[in-house]
Symmetry: C2
Subunit: 166 residues, 2 copies
């Protein structure tokens, strides 16, 4: 049984890019996302796939159960999704004894870049990189399960409109 | 990849009981059930567990993808369910080259008995037992994913009230 303790941040600038060790292409979709759980199908580099059940992100700590599934079955499950498919490039950035995952979103979420760090406990301290911006842990609109129905491009348009009014 | 082609019927009388080869205790719950899919956690005989993704029962033929999961993880997923837990005893009844599964529901669905037969094709012919009643294939209220929010006991009360009025 595994619990996920994860903090999420926006990203400032491009300095993280030169620290990137490797990157993975991710396509994922949600079979469901409700008040109790979210159920995700993820395909990495068009090669391997997982089915993941997570409890709702009500706190830093979430139940996360992940199972490998055959690629063809993952593709079939994608057809049963709710909302859009999320596409992103995940950059893995080693940092002290930890690892940042910097997700550069594509498609209708292009422009959004989110850095995540997985911790062993809620109170774990770590050195913060200069390229880390505002913390967005718990802000549901930034979660992938919300982006499938409210993509970042729809926010950007609202921002642009507000700026024109200002 | 597997497709399920299944027909469901109500059951008349008890004659099927003497034909039963074995029975299994099933506890199951739904993580989600929406317009596209249902996601089920099932525990058999308190020993083995599966996570199953099915497409909606819009026709006889449904996509069904099933993965074994550790018992403890299945119990944890049960806590993330929508609606109630379904409990039933499944009796396996061999019939010619086929197998009937007769589900005797317990708890808030007590009184409901459903016989299911899995077929190789939509048009497969088979000899019908005398103890098979009305066909309910495609009648969503009889599906387990509906019984978790509209249990059989709530129907029975409505029936009883209608009978009192009649």
């Amino acid at each position: 049984m595994s619990f996920e303790i994860e903090r999420k941040f926006l990203v400032r600038g491009d300095d993280w890019r030169k620290l990137t060790q490797r990157h993975i292409k991710i396509r994922q979709a949600y079979l469901a996302s409700n008040s109790k759980n979210s159920i995700r199908v993820r395909i990495k580099d068009d090669k391997t796939a997982t089915l993941t059940v997570k409890s709702k992100p009500s706190s830093l700590r979430r139940l996360e159960l992940e199972y490998p599934v055959p690629l063809l079955e993952a593709e079939a499950m994608m057809q049963l999704r709710q909302g859009a498919v999320i596409e992103k490039i995940r950059h893995v950035v080693p940092w002290d004894d930890l690892e940042w995952e910097v997700d550069v979103f594509l498609g209708s979420n292009a422009g959004l870049i989110i850095a995540e760090i997985e911790l062993d406990s809620e109170h774990q301290q770590f050195r913060m990189p200069a390229w880390i911006g505002r913390e967005i842990t718990g802000q549901l609109q930034y979660y992938n399960s919300a982006l499938v129905t409210q993509p970042y491009c729809s926010w950007a348009r609202e921002d642009a409109e507000l700026q024109q009014l200002a």
